[in-house]
Symmetry: C2
């Protein structure tokens, strides 16, 4: 079964669970809208790719891990779009959750998606309770504080920012979750998979910085130039356009070099290479690691 099918089916089951029976209708609509149709699903694809590279010995556990990561990601976008953070009116080309459903439902949609992520992991526990307990610990670590996206976002409320901690927590964390949780789902050692996630996270951050500068709002489906508006650090501002593209290539090269020895190593290299092609803005792809 293609990875994309595994991801969408597991996400569908999760949202079906959260919207079943007596759930309040408005919350149900918002939960569905926050998750479908999805974005590129890069994190869950990375998670399943690593699980496959490690032998895919418990596919349902791997599916749950991948979907849980995407649910957290979707929930964090709902909260980040709210007026007290980015005040974004658009997400994936349609009104953001707070615009469509109001602030109360936006808070609760984010909360519910975070909770449903853990519930999705727990649903797979019969197959391998020890692996699921480790997955819960990893997902919590990279979602909460001090190492997770909550802490990452909270750095934006500080007057003095630890930039390394900020980027690692805000963007890197969910990529590290993806590689480590993919490994654990297949019974492999998560420690070996930290570096790959961290490097892909760094590449993603640089690519995101590039897109914020060179893409149009229509291409991205959300406002651009936001880093300048919110005075957030941006690699293009720091390194220049050519410098940022060169840095992206270096980071992606390092990511591929860091892949641990595993049964599906060659295939995973190809997947990361393909992902890297999708990361860079189309306007710049001739200059990136695509070749």
């Amino acid at each position: 079964m293609p990875l994309q099918t595994r991801i969408e089916q597991t996400l569908n089951s999760a949202i079906d669970r959260a919207t079943a029976n007596s759930a309040p209708p408005y919350l149900c609509q918002a939960l569905h809208s926050a998750v479908f149709p999805g974005g590129a699903r890069i994190r869950p694809q990375l998670c399943l790719s690593v699980a496959q590279a490690c032998g895919d010995t418990a596919p349902n556990v791997a599916n749950a891990a991948a979907a849980a990561i995407e649910l957290i990601h979707c929930g964090s976008l709902v909260h980040d779009d709210m007026p007290c953070f980015d005040d974004a009116a658009l997400r994936r080309g349609k009104p953001s959750i707070h615009k469509a459903f109001g602030d109360p439902i936006a808070v609760l949609t984010g909360d519910t998606l975070i909770v449903q992520a853990f519930e999705t992991l727990a649903q797979a526990a019969d197959e391998a309770p020890d692996r699921v307990a480790k997955l819960v610990a990893l997902l919590a670590r990279y979602t909460g504080s001090p190492y997770g996206i909550c802490a990452g976002q909270a750095w934006e409320s500080e007057s003095e920012v630890d930039l390394r901690a900020y980027h690692q927590a805000k963007t890197g964390a969910m990529f590290i979750a993806a590689t480590q949780m993919g490994a654990v789902a297949s019974g492999a050692d998560p420690y070996l998979w930290h570096e790959l996630g961290a490097r892909i996270g760094e590449a993603f951050q640089v690519a995101d910085d590039l897109r914020d500068v060179v893409c149009s709002e229509a291409e991205l489906g959300k406002p651009t130039g936001q880093d300048a508006v919110h005075a957030r650090p941006n690699a293009v501002q720091r390194l220049g356009l050519d410098g940022a593209v060169a840095h992206l290539n270096n980071v992606l090269g390092g990511a591929i070099a860091s892949i641990p020895s595993c049964p599906g190593e060659a295939q995973l290299c190809a997947v990361i290479h393909a992902t890297s092609q999708r990361l860079a803005p189309t306007q710049l792809q001739n200059n990136t690691a695509a070749e």
Copy 2:
């Protein structure tokens, strides 16, 4: 060790974990302020009381379950106090989190406490991974949607409210979580413990309705008369003052009667009886089950 000590120690470890190392200082202050000093800690005490009644066969797992429930409760209070919900300026006699730290930190404090609840469960997994996986499932069920406090709160955004689903999810859910998770932590069957949690939850809702009507703001440490302000259903409005007190006594009697046969049954009856005395507003205690 007294239950209160077990609860506070485990909560301290959880907040230490979330505020360790490179965590953003402002978020750290808010996390601490949201959990300490606590309220009555009724839910975690109920959880540990049930765990003890069932033999307390894995005390660290029970401690984690109790603390996880309280972390979810504290996180939900932080979000509920926000301007888009109750817009409460006070909580436990001091400024609410959004008043003291701003809306962004309030959102992230609630998110982080939800996540830390699951991390706290995962920390106890080495002792009994199968029990912890079941605890994760129960905590998620009674926190998220359709049966949890997120769904309960979301009913307030609906024009037509399923009152039974609303009360059960908003108030009952965390009491059911407390009894069922206490049982699971000690290896007992959670299904037998559903009714006790549901009845105590109902009693708590009636007692809360009474306090909202008869107590002063100084006594509660938060604004009173809020049900009338927000046009929320209230048992005193529905049954009258005497009717609501009589209903509270009936529900508490039913709660004690529902306690399943277990090693610590007699002691648990005494605990529930003592809890019931604390539930009713002091002005009314001569009329309640306190006798």
